[in-house]
Protein backbone atom coordinates (compact mmCIF):
# COMPACT_ATOMS: atom_id res chain seq x y z
CA UNK A 1 0.00 0.00 0.00
CA UNK A 2 1.38 3.37 -1.01
CA UNK A 3 1.36 6.47 1.12
CA UNK A 4 -2.02 8.12 1.39
CA UNK A 5 -2.44 11.78 0.59
CA UNK A 6 -5.52 13.95 0.87
CA UNK A 7 -6.04 16.39 -1.97
CA UNK A 8 -8.69 19.03 -1.46
CA UNK A 9 -10.60 19.53 -4.69
CA UNK A 10 -12.89 22.55 -5.07
CA UNK A 11 -15.03 24.51 -4.32
CA UNK A 12 -12.88 26.89 -6.37
CA UNK A 13 -10.98 24.89 -8.90
CA UNK A 14 -9.98 25.59 -12.51
CA UNK A 15 -11.73 22.52 -13.86
CA UNK A 16 -14.85 22.73 -11.74
CA UNK A 17 -17.73 24.85 -12.93
CA UNK A 18 -19.60 24.33 -9.68
CA UNK A 19 -18.78 24.94 -6.01
CA UNK A 20 -18.59 21.41 -4.68
CA UNK A 21 -15.78 20.42 -2.39
CA UNK A 22 -14.27 16.95 -2.42
CA UNK A 23 -11.55 15.64 -0.18
CA UNK A 24 -9.84 13.07 -2.36
CA UNK A 25 -7.87 10.43 -0.54
CA UNK A 26 -5.15 9.29 -2.94
CA UNK A 27 -2.82 6.38 -3.03
CA UNK A 28 -0.22 7.38 -5.59
CA UNK A 29 -2.42 8.52 -8.48
CA UNK A 30 -5.45 6.41 -7.58
CA UNK A 31 -8.41 7.75 -5.66
CA UNK A 32 -9.36 5.49 -2.80
CA UNK A 33 -12.04 7.61 -1.19
CA UNK A 34 -13.87 10.85 -1.75
CA UNK A 35 -15.52 12.86 0.98
CA UNK A 36 -17.87 15.57 -0.28
CA UNK A 37 -19.00 18.72 1.40
CA UNK A 38 -21.55 21.10 0.03
CA UNK A 39 -23.18 24.21 1.38
CA UNK A 40 -21.02 26.95 -0.10
CA UNK A 41 -23.77 28.73 -1.98
CA UNK A 42 -26.82 28.29 0.19
CA UNK A 43 -29.23 31.15 -0.43
CA UNK A 44 -32.25 30.25 1.67
CA UNK A 45 -34.73 30.40 -1.20
CA UNK A 46 -37.00 27.82 0.43
CA UNK A 47 -37.29 29.92 3.54
CA UNK A 48 -38.14 32.94 1.45
CA UNK A 49 -41.61 31.59 0.67
CA UNK A 50 -42.70 32.66 4.11
CA UNK A 51 -41.90 36.26 3.25
CA UNK A 52 -42.98 36.47 -0.38
CA UNK A 53 -46.41 36.40 -1.87
CA UNK A 54 -47.04 33.16 -3.78
CA UNK A 55 -47.10 34.99 -7.12
CA UNK A 56 -43.82 36.78 -6.48
CA UNK A 57 -42.28 33.49 -5.48
CA UNK A 58 -42.59 32.26 -9.08
CA UNK A 59 -39.82 34.71 -9.97
CA UNK A 60 -37.73 33.69 -7.01
CA UNK A 61 -38.07 29.99 -7.74
CA UNK A 62 -36.74 30.57 -11.27
CA UNK A 63 -33.56 31.71 -9.66
CA UNK A 64 -32.92 28.37 -7.99
CA UNK A 65 -30.89 27.44 -11.04
CA UNK A 66 -29.33 29.54 -13.74
CA UNK A 67 -29.52 26.83 -16.38
CA UNK A 68 -32.86 25.14 -15.99
CA UNK A 69 -34.51 28.28 -14.69
CA UNK A 70 -37.55 27.72 -16.84
CA UNK A 71 -38.13 24.25 -15.41
CA UNK A 72 -38.00 25.56 -11.85
CA UNK A 73 -40.47 28.32 -12.61
CA UNK A 74 -42.69 25.80 -14.36
CA UNK A 75 -42.43 23.32 -11.51
CA UNK A 76 -43.31 25.91 -8.93
CA UNK A 77 -46.31 27.09 -10.93
CA UNK A 78 -47.48 23.54 -11.48
CA UNK A 79 -47.26 22.84 -7.75
CA UNK A 80 -49.31 25.93 -7.01
CA UNK A 81 -51.80 25.01 -9.71
CA UNK A 82 -52.14 21.70 -7.89
CA UNK A 83 -52.96 23.58 -4.70
CA UNK A 84 -55.52 25.77 -6.46
CA UNK A 85 -56.72 22.81 -8.51
CA UNK A 86 -56.76 24.77 -11.73
CA UNK A 87 -55.99 23.26 -15.09
CA UNK A 88 -53.90 25.37 -17.44
CA UNK A 89 -55.19 25.74 -21.02
CA UNK A 90 -53.73 23.40 -23.63
CA UNK A 91 -51.89 26.15 -25.47
CA UNK A 92 -50.06 27.11 -22.30
CA UNK A 93 -49.19 23.47 -21.67
CA UNK A 94 -47.64 23.04 -25.09
CA UNK A 95 -45.78 26.33 -24.85
CA UNK A 96 -44.40 25.19 -21.51
CA UNK A 97 -43.28 21.93 -23.08
CA UNK A 98 -41.62 23.89 -25.87
CA UNK A 99 -39.69 26.10 -23.49
CA UNK A 100 -38.91 23.17 -21.21
CA UNK A 101 -37.42 21.19 -24.07
CA UNK A 102 -35.49 24.22 -25.29
CA UNK A 103 -34.09 24.46 -21.76
CA UNK A 104 -33.08 20.83 -21.96
CA UNK A 105 -31.30 21.44 -25.25
CA UNK A 106 -29.48 24.45 -23.90
CA UNK A 107 -28.54 22.65 -20.72
CA UNK A 108 -27.25 19.57 -22.52
CA UNK A 109 -25.29 21.66 -25.02
CA UNK A 110 -23.79 23.58 -22.14
CA UNK A 111 -22.88 20.32 -20.49
CA UNK A 112 -21.35 18.93 -23.68
CA UNK A 113 -19.22 22.04 -23.88
CA UNK A 114 -18.09 21.76 -20.28
CA UNK A 115 -17.36 18.09 -20.74
CA UNK A 116 -15.19 18.87 -23.77
CA UNK A 117 -13.47 21.51 -21.68
CA UNK A 118 -12.86 18.99 -18.89
CA UNK A 119 -10.92 16.69 -21.17
CA UNK A 120 -9.12 19.61 -22.72
CA UNK A 121 -10.86 19.89 -26.08
CA UNK A 122 -11.31 23.65 -26.21
CA UNK A 123 -12.56 24.05 -29.75
CA UNK A 124 -15.24 21.42 -29.23
CA UNK A 125 -16.32 23.33 -26.15
CA UNK A 126 -16.75 26.50 -28.17
CA UNK A 127 -18.54 24.63 -30.92
CA UNK A 128 -21.11 23.30 -28.47
CA UNK A 129 -21.66 26.73 -26.99
CA UNK A 130 -21.95 28.25 -30.41
CA UNK A 131 -24.93 26.02 -31.07
CA UNK A 132 -26.33 26.77 -27.66
CA UNK A 133 -26.31 30.45 -28.54
CA UNK A 134 -29.05 29.85 -31.10
CA UNK A 135 -31.29 28.42 -28.40
CA UNK A 136 -30.61 31.40 -26.18
CA UNK A 137 -31.58 33.68 -29.06
CA UNK A 138 -34.87 31.82 -29.42
CA UNK A 139 -35.43 32.34 -25.71
CA UNK A 140 -34.75 36.04 -25.95
CA UNK A 141 -37.08 36.40 -28.89
CA UNK A 142 -39.93 34.54 -27.26
CA UNK A 143 -39.66 35.33 -23.55
CA UNK A 144 -37.57 38.48 -23.43
CA UNK A 145 -34.78 36.98 -21.34
CA UNK A 146 -31.90 34.75 -22.29
CA UNK A 147 -31.41 32.86 -19.06
CA UNK A 148 -34.15 33.94 -16.70
CA UNK A 149 -37.38 33.87 -18.61
CA UNK A 150 -40.01 34.98 -16.07
CA UNK A 151 -42.72 33.70 -18.34
CA UNK A 152 -44.60 31.23 -16.17
CA UNK A 153 -47.26 32.37 -13.79
CA UNK A 154 -49.58 30.46 -11.54
CA UNK A 155 -52.42 29.48 -13.82
CA UNK A 156 -50.70 29.93 -17.16
CA UNK A 157 -48.21 32.13 -18.89
CA UNK A 158 -47.37 35.81 -19.14
CA UNK A 159 -46.60 35.75 -22.83
CA UNK A 160 -47.93 34.05 -25.89
CA UNK A 161 -45.78 33.20 -28.89
CA UNK A 162 -47.14 34.26 -32.30
CA UNK A 163 -47.54 31.68 -35.05
CA UNK A 164 -44.80 33.05 -37.30
CA UNK A 165 -42.37 32.86 -34.42
CA UNK A 166 -43.30 29.22 -33.84
CA UNK A 167 -42.58 28.53 -37.50
CA UNK A 168 -39.26 30.28 -37.18
CA UNK A 169 -38.35 28.17 -34.15
CA UNK A 170 -39.03 24.96 -36.08
CA UNK A 171 -36.93 26.25 -38.96
CA UNK A 172 -34.05 27.20 -36.68
CA UNK A 173 -34.10 23.82 -34.98
CA UNK A 174 -34.24 21.96 -38.26
CA UNK A 175 -31.32 24.02 -39.49
CA UNK A 176 -29.38 23.11 -36.37
CA UNK A 177 -29.77 19.39 -36.78
CA UNK A 178 -26.93 19.01 -39.28
CA UNK A 179 -24.48 20.94 -37.14
CA UNK A 180 -25.59 19.02 -34.07
CA UNK A 181 -24.92 15.77 -35.85
CA UNK A 182 -21.40 16.93 -36.68
CA UNK A 183 -20.89 17.85 -33.03
CA UNK A 184 -22.26 14.50 -31.91
CA UNK A 185 -19.91 12.67 -34.27
CA UNK A 186 -16.90 14.22 -32.57
CA UNK A 187 -18.15 13.23 -29.14
CA UNK A 188 -19.03 9.72 -30.18
CA UNK A 189 -16.52 8.80 -32.86
CA UNK A 190 -13.35 10.72 -32.14
CA UNK A 191 -10.56 8.50 -30.90
CA UNK A 192 -9.23 10.88 -28.24
CA UNK A 193 -12.68 11.54 -26.81
CA UNK A 194 -13.48 7.86 -26.71
CA UNK A 195 -10.23 7.17 -24.87
CA UNK A 196 -11.20 9.62 -22.16
CA UNK A 197 -14.80 8.55 -21.70
CA UNK A 198 -15.16 4.87 -22.52
CA UNK A 199 -15.12 2.52 -19.57
CA UNK A 200 -14.78 5.39 -17.12
CA UNK A 201 -17.09 5.55 -14.12
CA UNK A 202 -18.89 2.35 -14.88
CA UNK A 203 -22.16 1.79 -13.07
CA UNK A 204 -24.44 -1.17 -13.51
CA UNK A 205 -28.19 -0.72 -13.67
CA UNK A 206 -28.68 -2.13 -10.15
CA UNK A 207 -25.94 0.03 -8.71
CA UNK A 208 -27.30 3.17 -10.33
CA UNK A 209 -30.79 2.42 -9.15
CA UNK A 210 -29.67 1.45 -5.64
CA UNK A 211 -27.79 4.67 -5.00
CA UNK A 212 -30.62 6.76 -6.37
CA UNK A 213 -29.12 8.10 -9.58
CA UNK A 214 -31.39 10.34 -11.63
CA UNK A 215 -31.88 11.39 -15.20
CA UNK A 216 -29.15 10.71 -17.76
CA UNK A 217 -27.06 9.02 -15.06
CA UNK A 218 -29.73 6.40 -14.61
CA UNK A 219 -30.70 6.14 -18.25
CA UNK A 220 -27.04 5.79 -19.23
CA UNK A 221 -26.97 2.64 -17.13
CA UNK A 222 -29.96 1.14 -18.85
CA UNK A 223 -32.86 2.06 -16.56
CA UNK A 224 -35.68 3.68 -18.51
CA UNK A 225 -36.92 6.16 -15.95
CA UNK A 226 -38.08 9.53 -17.20
CA UNK A 227 -40.72 11.68 -15.54
CA UNK A 228 -41.91 12.93 -18.90
CA UNK A 229 -43.34 9.45 -19.34
CA UNK A 230 -45.71 9.96 -16.40
CA UNK A 231 -48.26 11.40 -18.79
CA UNK A 232 -48.76 14.77 -17.16
CA UNK A 233 -48.45 18.44 -18.06
CA UNK A 234 -49.18 17.81 -21.74
CA UNK A 235 -46.63 15.07 -22.38
CA UNK A 236 -49.49 12.58 -22.59
CA UNK A 237 -50.31 13.96 -26.05
CA UNK A 238 -46.78 13.50 -27.40
CA UNK A 239 -45.04 10.44 -28.71
CA UNK A 240 -42.23 9.90 -26.29
CA UNK A 241 -39.82 7.09 -25.43
CA UNK A 242 -37.07 7.59 -22.88
CA UNK A 243 -33.53 7.54 -24.27
CA UNK A 244 -31.68 4.59 -22.78
CA UNK A 245 -28.09 3.43 -23.21
CA UNK A 246 -26.68 0.25 -21.75
CA UNK A 247 -22.99 1.15 -21.35
CA UNK A 248 -23.15 2.71 -17.89
CA UNK A 249 -19.94 4.68 -18.44
CA UNK A 250 -19.19 8.32 -19.24
CA UNK A 251 -19.46 7.54 -22.94
CA UNK A 252 -22.98 6.15 -22.53
CA UNK A 253 -24.06 9.15 -20.50
CA UNK A 254 -22.68 11.51 -23.14
CA UNK A 255 -24.58 9.52 -25.72
CA UNK A 256 -27.81 9.77 -23.71
CA UNK A 257 -27.51 13.53 -23.53
CA UNK A 258 -26.71 13.88 -27.20
CA UNK A 259 -29.67 11.75 -28.17
CA UNK A 260 -31.87 13.73 -25.82
CA UNK A 261 -30.98 16.92 -27.65
CA UNK A 262 -32.33 15.36 -30.84
CA UNK A 263 -35.32 14.02 -28.96
CA UNK A 264 -36.06 17.50 -27.65
CA UNK A 265 -36.10 18.85 -31.20
CA UNK A 266 -38.62 16.17 -32.07
CA UNK A 267 -40.76 16.91 -29.00
CA UNK A 268 -40.76 20.64 -29.74
CA UNK A 269 -41.90 19.95 -33.29
CA UNK A 270 -44.66 17.70 -32.03
CA UNK A 271 -45.76 20.24 -29.42
CA UNK A 272 -45.83 23.07 -31.95
CA UNK A 273 -47.78 20.89 -34.34
CA UNK A 274 -50.39 20.08 -31.73
CA UNK A 275 -50.64 23.57 -30.25
CA UNK A 276 -54.24 24.79 -30.35
CA UNK A 277 -55.37 28.39 -30.56
CA UNK A 278 -56.83 29.94 -27.49
CA UNK A 279 -56.10 31.49 -24.16
CA UNK A 280 -52.89 30.93 -22.26
CA UNK A 281 -54.17 31.50 -18.78
CA UNK A 282 -56.82 30.36 -16.34
CA UNK A 283 -57.06 32.96 -13.61
CA UNK A 284 -56.51 31.84 -10.05
CA UNK A 285 -58.31 33.55 -7.22
CA UNK A 286 -57.79 33.67 -3.50
CA UNK A 287 -55.04 32.05 -1.53
CA UNK A 288 -53.67 28.53 -1.79
CA UNK A 289 -54.47 25.86 0.75
CA UNK A 290 -53.40 22.27 1.22
CA UNK A 291 -50.43 20.24 0.11
CA UNK A 292 -49.10 19.29 -3.27
CA UNK A 293 -46.18 17.31 -4.62
CA UNK A 294 -45.04 17.44 -8.23
CA UNK A 295 -42.40 15.35 -9.96
CA UNK A 296 -40.85 16.59 -13.17
CA UNK A 297 -37.99 15.77 -15.47
CA UNK A 298 -35.34 18.41 -15.46
CA UNK A 299 -32.36 18.25 -17.85
CA UNK A 300 -30.40 16.67 -15.01
CA UNK A 301 -33.03 14.25 -13.82
CA UNK A 302 -36.05 14.05 -11.64
CA UNK A 303 -36.90 17.08 -9.55
CA UNK A 304 -39.46 17.09 -6.77
CA UNK A 305 -41.45 20.09 -5.61
CA UNK A 306 -43.48 20.06 -2.47
CA UNK A 307 -45.61 22.93 -1.24
CA UNK A 308 -47.75 23.33 1.81
CA UNK A 309 -50.12 26.26 2.16
CA UNK A 310 -52.32 27.43 4.96
CA UNK A 311 -54.80 29.71 3.25
CA UNK A 312 -52.72 32.89 3.39
CA UNK A 313 -50.86 34.65 0.58
CA UNK A 314 -47.63 33.05 1.78
CA UNK A 315 -46.82 29.39 1.59
CA UNK A 316 -45.94 27.59 4.76
CA UNK A 317 -43.33 25.31 3.28
CA UNK A 318 -41.75 24.86 -0.10
CA UNK A 319 -39.28 22.13 -0.77
CA UNK A 320 -37.25 21.36 -3.86
CA UNK A 321 -35.25 18.17 -4.22
CA UNK A 322 -33.01 18.72 -7.18
CA UNK A 323 -31.48 15.87 -9.22
CA UNK A 324 -27.88 16.83 -8.53
CA UNK A 325 -28.42 16.12 -4.87
CA UNK A 326 -29.49 12.60 -5.76
CA UNK A 327 -26.57 12.24 -8.14
CA UNK A 328 -23.86 13.03 -5.60
CA UNK A 329 -24.19 9.53 -4.15
CA UNK A 330 -23.43 7.76 -7.47
CA UNK A 331 -20.52 10.14 -7.92
CA UNK A 332 -19.04 9.00 -4.62
CA UNK A 333 -19.51 5.42 -5.75
CA UNK A 334 -17.72 6.03 -9.03
CA UNK A 335 -14.72 7.95 -7.71
CA UNK A 336 -12.82 5.25 -5.77
CA UNK A 337 -10.46 3.44 -8.09
CA UNK A 338 -10.18 6.13 -10.73
CA UNK A 339 -7.12 8.18 -11.59
CA UNK A 340 -6.76 11.71 -10.28
CA UNK A 341 -6.75 13.00 -13.86
CA UNK A 342 -10.19 11.49 -14.44
CA UNK A 343 -11.81 13.16 -11.44
CA UNK A 344 -12.95 16.29 -13.35
CA UNK A 345 -14.63 14.13 -15.98
CA UNK A 346 -16.36 12.03 -13.35
CA UNK A 347 -17.56 15.08 -11.48
CA UNK A 348 -18.87 16.54 -14.71
CA UNK A 349 -20.53 13.37 -15.84
CA UNK A 350 -23.25 13.80 -13.20
CA UNK A 351 -23.92 17.26 -14.71
CA UNK A 352 -23.52 18.93 -11.34
CA UNK A 353 -25.58 21.95 -10.50
CA UNK A 354 -24.55 22.61 -6.95
CA UNK A 355 -26.27 25.98 -6.81
CA UNK A 356 -29.63 24.36 -7.36
CA UNK A 357 -28.80 21.60 -4.91
CA UNK A 358 -28.27 24.15 -2.18
CA UNK A 359 -31.01 26.53 -3.18
Amino acid sequence: MGKRTVVPFGPQHPVLPEPIHLDLVLEDEKVVEAIPSIGFVHRGLEKLVEKRDYQEMAYVSERICGICSFVHGHGYCETLEGLFQVEVPDRAKFLRIMWGELSRMHSHLLWLGLMADAFGFESLFMQAWRLREKILDIFEQTTGGRIIHSVCKVGGLWRDVPEDMLKKIVETLEGMEGELQELANVFLKDYTVQKRTQGLGKMSAEEAFECGAMGPMLRGSGVAMDMRGLGQSGYEHLKFDPVVEQGGDCYARTNVRIREVFQSIDLIKQAIGLMPEGSIENKVKGSPEGECLVRMEQPRGQVIYYAKANGTRHLERFRVRTPTFANIMPLLNMLPGCDLADVPILVLTIDPCISCTER
Binding site: Y59, G145, E182, Y191
Partner: protein
Amino acid sequence: MGLGVMGKTVMRNLFGKPATVMYPVVKKEFYPTTRGSILYDESTCNYCTLCAKRCPSQAITVDRAEKVWRIDRKRCLTCNFCISVCNKDSLSCVQEYAAPVVKEFDSWLFQAERIAGEKIEGLEGQEGFSDKDA
Protein backbone atom coordinates in the same frame (compact mmCIF):
# COMPACT_ATOMS: atom_id res chain seq x y z
CA MET B 1 -10.32 10.20 -38.47
CA GLY B 2 -10.14 13.63 -36.89
CA LEU B 3 -10.24 15.54 -40.16
CA GLY B 4 -13.03 13.41 -41.55
CA VAL B 5 -15.18 13.99 -38.47
CA MET B 6 -14.43 17.65 -37.96
CA GLY B 7 -13.39 18.83 -41.41
CA LYS B 8 -16.71 20.39 -42.27
CA THR B 9 -16.98 22.25 -38.99
CA VAL B 10 -13.41 23.47 -39.26
CA MET B 11 -13.97 24.77 -42.78
CA ARG B 12 -17.18 26.50 -41.80
CA ASN B 13 -15.49 28.16 -38.85
CA LEU B 14 -12.49 29.24 -40.90
CA PHE B 15 -14.41 30.79 -43.75
CA GLY B 16 -17.77 31.58 -42.20
CA LYS B 17 -18.90 34.65 -40.34
CA PRO B 18 -17.89 34.96 -36.69
CA ALA B 19 -20.49 33.88 -34.15
CA THR B 20 -19.93 36.92 -32.00
CA VAL B 21 -21.04 40.50 -32.59
CA MET B 22 -18.24 43.01 -33.07
CA TYR B 23 -19.50 45.19 -30.25
CA PRO B 24 -19.14 48.22 -29.97
CA VAL B 25 -18.35 48.65 -33.70
CA VAL B 26 -21.58 46.84 -34.52
CA LYS B 27 -24.46 47.62 -32.20
CA LYS B 28 -26.25 44.63 -30.75
CA GLU B 29 -29.83 44.68 -31.95
CA PHE B 30 -32.38 43.94 -29.29
CA TYR B 31 -35.45 41.93 -30.10
CA PRO B 32 -38.82 43.64 -29.67
CA THR B 33 -39.51 41.26 -26.79
CA THR B 34 -36.25 41.85 -24.92
CA ARG B 35 -36.85 42.90 -21.35
CA GLY B 36 -34.28 45.63 -20.87
CA SER B 37 -35.40 47.99 -18.19
CA ILE B 38 -38.50 49.58 -16.70
CA LEU B 39 -39.71 52.92 -18.02
CA TYR B 40 -41.77 55.09 -15.74
CA ASP B 41 -44.30 57.67 -16.85
CA GLU B 42 -44.75 60.31 -14.20
CA SER B 43 -47.76 61.95 -15.81
CA THR B 44 -50.18 59.07 -15.26
CA CYS B 45 -48.96 57.64 -11.96
CA ASN B 46 -51.20 58.23 -8.96
CA TYR B 47 -48.68 56.98 -6.40
CA CYS B 48 -50.86 54.11 -5.30
CA THR B 49 -47.72 52.17 -4.17
CA LEU B 50 -49.06 48.93 -5.63
CA CYS B 51 -45.93 48.36 -7.68
CA ALA B 52 -43.72 48.92 -4.65
CA LYS B 53 -45.73 46.44 -2.60
CA ARG B 54 -45.74 43.70 -5.21
CA CYS B 55 -42.20 43.94 -6.56
CA PRO B 56 -40.50 40.60 -5.77
CA SER B 57 -37.15 42.21 -5.09
CA GLN B 58 -38.42 45.41 -3.46
CA ALA B 59 -36.69 47.56 -6.01
CA ILE B 60 -39.36 50.25 -6.10
CA THR B 61 -39.98 52.79 -3.40
CA VAL B 62 -42.94 55.14 -3.65
CA ASP B 63 -43.42 58.10 -1.39
CA ARG B 64 -47.06 59.09 -1.47
CA ALA B 65 -46.74 62.36 0.41
CA GLU B 66 -43.69 63.59 -1.50
CA LYS B 67 -44.94 62.18 -4.80
CA VAL B 68 -41.72 60.44 -5.70
CA TRP B 69 -41.38 57.11 -7.46
CA ARG B 70 -37.96 55.56 -7.34
CA ILE B 71 -36.39 52.41 -8.62
CA ASP B 72 -33.15 50.78 -7.66
CA ARG B 73 -31.84 49.42 -10.96
CA LYS B 74 -29.44 47.14 -9.23
CA ARG B 75 -32.23 45.28 -7.47
CA CYS B 76 -34.65 45.21 -10.37
CA LEU B 77 -34.89 41.84 -12.13
CA THR B 78 -36.91 43.23 -15.05
CA CYS B 79 -39.52 40.60 -14.33
CA ASN B 80 -42.26 43.01 -15.46
CA PHE B 81 -44.52 42.12 -12.56
CA CYS B 82 -44.89 45.79 -11.63
CA ILE B 83 -46.14 46.50 -15.16
CA SER B 84 -48.86 43.92 -14.77
CA VAL B 85 -50.03 45.20 -11.37
CA CYS B 86 -50.07 48.90 -12.27
CA ASN B 87 -53.58 49.78 -13.30
CA LYS B 88 -52.66 53.26 -14.51
CA ASP B 89 -50.32 51.95 -17.24
CA SER B 90 -47.56 54.15 -15.91
CA LEU B 91 -44.93 51.51 -16.31
CA SER B 92 -43.63 49.88 -19.43
CA CYS B 93 -40.65 47.87 -20.53
CA VAL B 94 -37.99 49.17 -22.90
CA GLN B 95 -35.43 47.09 -24.77
CA GLU B 96 -32.38 49.05 -23.67
CA TYR B 97 -30.73 47.99 -20.48
CA ALA B 98 -30.33 50.49 -17.67
CA ALA B 99 -27.26 52.67 -17.89
CA PRO B 100 -24.23 51.29 -16.09
CA VAL B 101 -22.83 52.76 -12.91
CA VAL B 102 -19.87 54.89 -13.85
CA LYS B 103 -18.78 56.07 -10.47
CA GLU B 104 -17.96 54.41 -7.21
CA PHE B 105 -20.13 55.50 -4.39
CA ASP B 106 -19.23 55.70 -0.75
CA SER B 107 -20.58 52.53 0.87
CA TRP B 108 -23.38 52.65 -1.66
CA LEU B 109 -25.12 49.47 -0.75
CA PHE B 110 -25.49 50.18 2.89
CA GLN B 111 -27.11 53.58 2.84
CA ALA B 112 -30.81 53.11 2.66
CA GLU B 113 -31.46 56.60 1.35
CA ARG B 114 -28.99 56.19 -1.54
CA ILE B 115 -30.31 52.86 -2.70
CA ALA B 116 -33.19 54.48 -4.51
CA GLY B 117 -30.79 56.26 -6.87
CA GLU B 118 -31.00 59.46 -8.81
CA LYS B 119 -31.97 60.64 -12.27
CA ILE B 120 -30.12 59.23 -15.24
CA GLU B 121 -29.12 61.85 -17.74
CA GLY B 122 -30.34 61.28 -21.24
CA LEU B 123 -33.04 58.82 -20.31
CA GLU B 124 -35.88 61.18 -19.62
CA GLY B 125 -38.54 59.97 -17.32
CA GLN B 126 -36.36 57.20 -16.02
CA GLU B 127 -35.14 57.32 -12.53
CA GLY B 128 -32.27 55.15 -11.77
CA PHE B 129 -28.92 54.10 -10.84
CA SER B 130 -26.57 56.92 -11.62
CA ASP B 131 -25.19 59.99 -10.01
CA LYS B 132 -26.03 63.53 -11.03
CA ASP B 133 -22.46 64.54 -11.58
CA ALA B 134 -21.29 61.23 -13.01
